[in-house]
Structure formats: C-alpha cells, structure tokens
C-alpha cells in the first residue's frame, strides 16, 4: 500500500495545486507533497533494506533492493528541488522572467514529473516502465520550454522529438521481449512482468533477447543521455529552469539507467551477462571519451554540467557493465553521489546565473564576492562533481577504477584514470576562472544567509559522509550489490 502512496501523493497534490490562487499556497502544497512522498519512500526503503526482501503491491508495483537507491535518489533530490524552487521562482517573478500566472502550471507539471519518475522505478511491469518513462518526456518537455524563449522552445522541441523517436526503439525492444515470452510459454499467461520473466529467464529465446537489448539500449540510452544519442541533453539542461535542470540531470537520467539495468539483468539471465555487459561498457566508454572535448571547450556553464552528466552516466554504465563487486558498488555509489552533487550544483548555479544574467562562463567573474554564501555551496558541489576528496564521487570513481584494474588490467585502468583526471583539470580551470577572478564593478557585495542555503548545504554534508564513512563493509550497501550480482 505504501508504494501506491508514494506514487499517488504527488499526483493528488498536483491536482490540489490547481485550486489555490496564492503563490505561497501553491508552493507550500508542492513542498508538502514532496515531504510526504519522500517520507513514505524512506519508510519503504527501510522496509526493504532491513530484512532484504521485496515489497509488492498487487501485480503492478514492487520495490526490491535494486529499486532502493533510485527511490532514495528521487526522494532526496525532488525534495531539495521543491524547496529550492521557491526562491528560484520568486526571483524569476521579481525580474519578470516568469509571470505570476505561470507558477501554478510550473508546480503542477513539477509534481506530475516527479510522480512519473517514481512510477518508472516502482513498476514491476516492463511495459509500464516504458509508459512512465515516455510520460516523463512529455511532461518535462513543457518544463524545459517553460520560459517560452526562442532557445528554450528549440531545446524543448529537440528534446521531445529525439526522446520520442528514441523511446519508440525501446518499444520495439519490448515487443521482442514479449515475443520471446510468448514463445517460451507456449501461449501461457504472458504479462511482461519483470519478476516472472526473471523466474524463467533461461527459457527465453537468446537471439530475441539479444536483439531486444540492442533496441532497448538505444531507446532508453537516448533518455539516459548516452553517446551518441545525447544531443538533446545539453540543450535541455542548459535552457530549462535550474530546479528542472537539477531534476533532469539528477533523477531522470537515472530512471532511464534503471530501465536499462532491469533489461540487463533479464538478458543476463537468458543469455549470460557477457553480451549486455559488453554493450554497457562500450557505450559507457564512448560517453566518457566523447564528452571530454565538449567539457574542455565549453562556454556555457549549464551546458558544461550537462556534458559532465554524459561523462558520469558513462562511468556508471562502465561500473555496472564490469559486474564485479567493486564495479557494481562504485556504480551504485556513483549514481547516488552524482545525483545529489549535480542537482546541488545546478541549483546553486541557477542562483548565480540569475544574478549575472548570463550563462556564459567568461562573464561569471568573482562569484565569491558577489554571492559569498551561494558560491561556497557552488564550489563544494563543483569539487564534489569533479571527483575531489573528501566527497563521495572521489571514492566511487576509485572503486570503479579498481574494478577496471581487477578485470582488464593496467592499460584500460590508466586510460580511465586519465579521462577522469582530464575532466577534473578542466573543472579546476573553470573554477579558477569563475571564483578567483575580479568581480564586475557594478555589482554590490550583498547576500544574506537564508533557509535555502541551509537546505542546499545538506546535500554537501551527505556527499562528505558518503566520501568519508561509506565503506563496502556496510551491510546495507553490500546487500544491494550482492542482489544485483546474483542477477547477472
């Protein structure tokens, strides 16, 4: 029942948001919705983690150990985004970027978006996962083009067209899985239910499963921003309001990765893990390599972070593709840390960019003097995303690097570390340019500490905790890793 509540609460509150006329009331409803659904999510995750069992609700919803990190990510990031969006929306209204009448549609779409993301990680039916991921595209496209400027509408159009075409390929993949299910069951009761499919995975036609995985990888890969299907990602992340960029980068990409992982486990049970693992590693490596030149030559700060997301998704895919203990452990931790870090980075960047009125890195000078408190959060989250100690991403990258050395030996490990070091160096260069430079003379030194700063510092603390205190020996994490490894 609790699973139903997690999905229903944002949905019900999105309808409730239509009722009040006051901006504050709408914002309060949105925050309440996120708080309640996050609370239910934490309870559900606890119920799964402590005994290590799977919770079912009818034959539609389920939460197992694989869903737990994703549900936690959605719960934490959506709550942070809902709280931070209040300040962001208020400022947008002040500077006439957003009309007062747009507040209602913004929060209605925001809540529907979160609802669909929850649905995509809580469904046990592969068909419904597809439907909910496609629904996230339709809803978030409206949010990407929310400012209704030329660039934002262009980004929104590219996003909806590319993702709809991409996800259509995933539909072909699902048809093939269903065909495999029909053949193996000899006209029995077919459902596309993941748990049932896993139980007779070895009977599924290997050829069909392999081809279906290619289609699903291309389809969901488009949504996950994997190279070469990533072209919508920098545009959409760069043009959408910052709380939405944070949700897109921090949560939505992971929902698509979740769908890929479910198919990976299914294909592994049918034909062995080698085929799908190789594809995951291949796409992961391509995403890492091809995002680097764009990171090095970027002028737009939000596009820079979008390309960094492509790189990080690549790292996560490599970790899962490796399939050994440290690879999977690193990938799960990396996914969690990246989501938290990137969303904080987008939110703090949004605040800075609004002050300067430009996304251009060359124009963002002396942020430490202009926005001293926000810039501390910005610097911390940037260091975290770049992979600096003591933040969690450093540790997860080291785990994945260790797994590569273990599985493929010295040379591939060195290449992986070189790519990470290059991105780190690029981020340090940009940090120096933005933070350690002189401010423009027309800017005043003024920023009071507010509630939003306290909320934005919570993810930084979480990242320090995951970087300093999370070790593989912690029972909860090893349970998730072992659950995943049992499937492949």
């Amino acid at each position: 029942m609790i699973l139903l509540f997690i999905v229903l609460i944002p949905l019900i509150f999105s309808f409730l948001c239509v009722l009040p006329k006051e901006k504050k009331a709408i914002q309060l409803l949105a925050i309440c919705a996120m708080m309640i659904s996050s609370l239910f999510s934490f309870i559900a995750c606890f119920c799964v983690l402590s005994p290590g069992r799977t919770l079912f609700f009818s034959n539609l919803f389920a939460i197992d150990l694989l869903s737990v990190p994703f549900v936690l990510i959605i719960a934490i990031v959506s709550l942070i985004c809902a709280i931070s969006s209040v300040n962001y929306v208020n400022r947008d209204i002040e500077i006439n970027e957003m009309k007062k009448s747009y507040v209602k549609p913004f929060y209605v779409l925001f809540l529907l978006f979160v609802c669909m993301m929850y649905l995509s990680v809580l469904c046990q039916n592969l068909g419904l996962i597809w439907v909910s991921i496609e629904a996230t595209t339709v809803i978030s496209a409206l949010l990407v083009g929310f400012y209704r400027k030329r660039a934002s509408l262009e980004a929104a159009w590219k996003y909806i067209i590319l993702c709809t075409v991409g996800i259509a390929f995933a539909l072909v993949g699902l048809i093939l899985i269903y065909q495999a299910e029909q053949i193996s069951l000899f006209n029995g009761v077919e459902t596309l239910n993941w748990f049932k499919l896993m139980s007779y995975g070895k009977n599924l036609d290997p050829n069909l499963m392999k081809i279906s995985f290619i289609f699903l990888m291309v389809g969901y890969g488009t949504k996950a921003g994997i190279f070469p299907m990533h072209t919508w990602l920098p545009d959409a992340h760069g043009q959408s309001p910052s709380p939405i960029s944070a949700l897109l980068s921090g949560v939505l990409l992971n929902c698509a990765v979740y769908a890929i992982l479910r198919q990976h486990l299914l294909v592994s049970s049918a034909v062995g893990s080698e085929f799908s693992s190789n594809l995951l590693i291949g796409f992961g490596v391509l995403s890492m390599i091809f995002s680097v030149p764009f990171i090095l030559t970027q002028r737009d700060i939000k596009r820079l972070f979008a390309y960094s997301s492509v790189e990080h998704i690549g790292i996560i895919l490599i970790g899962f593709g490796l399939g050994n203990f440290f690879g999977v452990l690193g990938a799960i931790l990396h996914m969690f840390n990246h989501s938290i870090g990137k969303s904080t980075l987008f939110l703090s960047t949004g605040s800075i960019v609004k002050r300067y009125g430009s996304n251009n890195i060359g124009r963002l000078k002396g942020i430490g003097q202009v926005k001293p408190i926000t810039s501390i959060i910005f610097v911390c989250s940037l260091l975290a995303v770049a992979g600096s100690p003591p933040f969690g991403i450093f540790l997860s990258e080291i785990y994945i690097a260790y797994a590569i050395f273990q599985k493929f030996g010295f040379f591939p490990g060195v290449i992986f570390l070189t790519l990470i070091a290059t991105v780190f160096a690029a981020f340090m260069y940009y940090l120096g340019k933005i933070y350690f430079s002189n401010q423009r003379p027309d800017f005043k030194f003024k920023e009071k500490i507010g509630l939003q700063h306290i909320f934005l510092s919570i993810p930084i603390i979480i990242l320090i905790i995951t970087g300093c205190f999370l070790t593989p020996s912690i029972n909860i994490i090893s349970k998730i890793v072992e659950y995943f490894m049992r499937g492949i």
Binding site: L153, K158, A180, D300
Partner: protein
C-alpha cells in the same frame, strides 16, 4: 488483410511525395484506419493463437479514437490556427523523396526475408509492411522541414511499430496498450501546443530555424 496492408503501405509512401500538410493528415487517417482494422483482423485470422475478441476490439477502438480521430484533429486544428502556407519546405525534390521511399520498402523486404530474421522469430506475414512504415516514418521526418511533419512522421513510425507488435505477438498486454495510447495522445497534444508557441516566436514552423543551440 493483404489489401489493408497495401493501403497501409501506400498511404505512407504517398506522404513522401506530398508537400501539403492537410493531404498528409488525410493520408495518415487512411493509414491509421487500416491499422485499426488490422489490429482486430490479424489476430482473428492468425493460426495457432487463441483469439481474444475483447482484447483485440479494445486495441482496435483505441487505435481508431486516438490515431484516426483525435491526433489528426489536433494536427489539422493547429495547422488551421497557424494559417501558415500549407506547402512545407523539403530537403530534397519530391521525386527523389519518393524514390528513396521505394528503396526503403525494398530494403525492408530484403531484411524481412533474410534468414536471420526468420531464424530469430523477428518476421511474420505482415512484418514487412510494419518495417517499411517505421523506416518511411523516420525518413518523412528528415525529408520534410515542418514541425507538424515531424509529428506526422512520429505517428507513421508508431503505426509501423504497432503493426509489427500485432503481427508478431497478436497484441501487447492491455494495460500496456492503454498506456502507450494515452502517452501518444498527450505527446501529440504537447507537440501541438509547442508548435503553436514556436510559430508565435519564430513566425515560421520551418525546422531550419531551430539551429541556434550548438556545441
């Protein structure tokens, strides 16, 4: 069934040679209408499967309401509202576009009759028409440079995918069918709204204008 499949294929091929949006939408209606009959006809006449009338009838009705009635209505309404020139710009001459369409049909036939497809249970009697429609839908989006044509292209592509699903599996689970049609309908609506916004700002629906964001 073969006649309906023929209409299904010819209507998509014809779209490639026309620059008129209204005409394209009427052709889309023809294609979707033939699909909705095929949704019930193919499972009815297929051997070795137990025919579930309720399931097939619902899928056919959904196809009819969403793809024959609602989506074409949305596209025609947006087109009328924009009052734009009905003739859309193309990336190539109409003749060449038609020629490539015929080539794609030939390619689909080769693919469908290949040993790999039959061994891997990827082909059926009607899958050739489905694969052709998927490829033609993709190509239609590339050859025609109007926003509304991209929506039409996606629907043609999805028509092909739905024909493929019914020809291969006699229909997907009902809850999934409901979900996909709902998504398609809402997606069409959102794309229609966006076309309106884009036309308002760019004073055109030519996709060439959408090339500001690079790098």
């Amino acid at each position: 069934m073969d006649f309906l499949c023929f209409i299904f294929l010819i209507s998509s091929l014809w779209m490639l040679s026309t620059r008129n949006i209204t005409k394209s939408v009427y052709l889309l209606i023809f294609q979707s209408l033939s699909l909705s009959i095929l949704m019930i006809g193919i499972p009815m006449f297929s051997m070795g499967y137990e025919f579930n009338f309720f399931h097939s009838a619902i899928a056919a009705l959904l196809t009819f309401f969403v793809k024959v009635v609602l989506l074409p209505l949305i596209i025609l309404r947006v087109n009328r509202k924009l009052r734009s020139n009905d003739l859309v710009p193309m990336n190539m001459p109409q003749g060449l576009s038609l020629l490539i369409g015929i080539f794609l049909i030939g390619f689909s036939q080769i693919l469908n009759s290949s040993g790999f497809f039959s061994i891997s249970h990827l082909s059926s009697v009607y899958s050739f028409y489905a694969i052709s429609s998927i490829l033609i839908g993709c190509f239609y989006m590339l050859s025609h440079r109007a926003l509304l044509c991209q929506i039409i292209g996606i629907i043609v592509m999805e028509n092909g995918i739905f024909l493929y699903s019914v020809s291969l599996t006699n229909g997907m689970p009902l809850i999934f069918e409901f979900g996909t049609f709902f998504d398609l309908l809402v997606g069409g609506l959102v794309m229609g709204i966006m076309t309106n916004y884009i036309h308002g700002l760019f004073e055109s629906t030519d996709t060439e204008n959408l090339s500001e964001l690079k790098g």
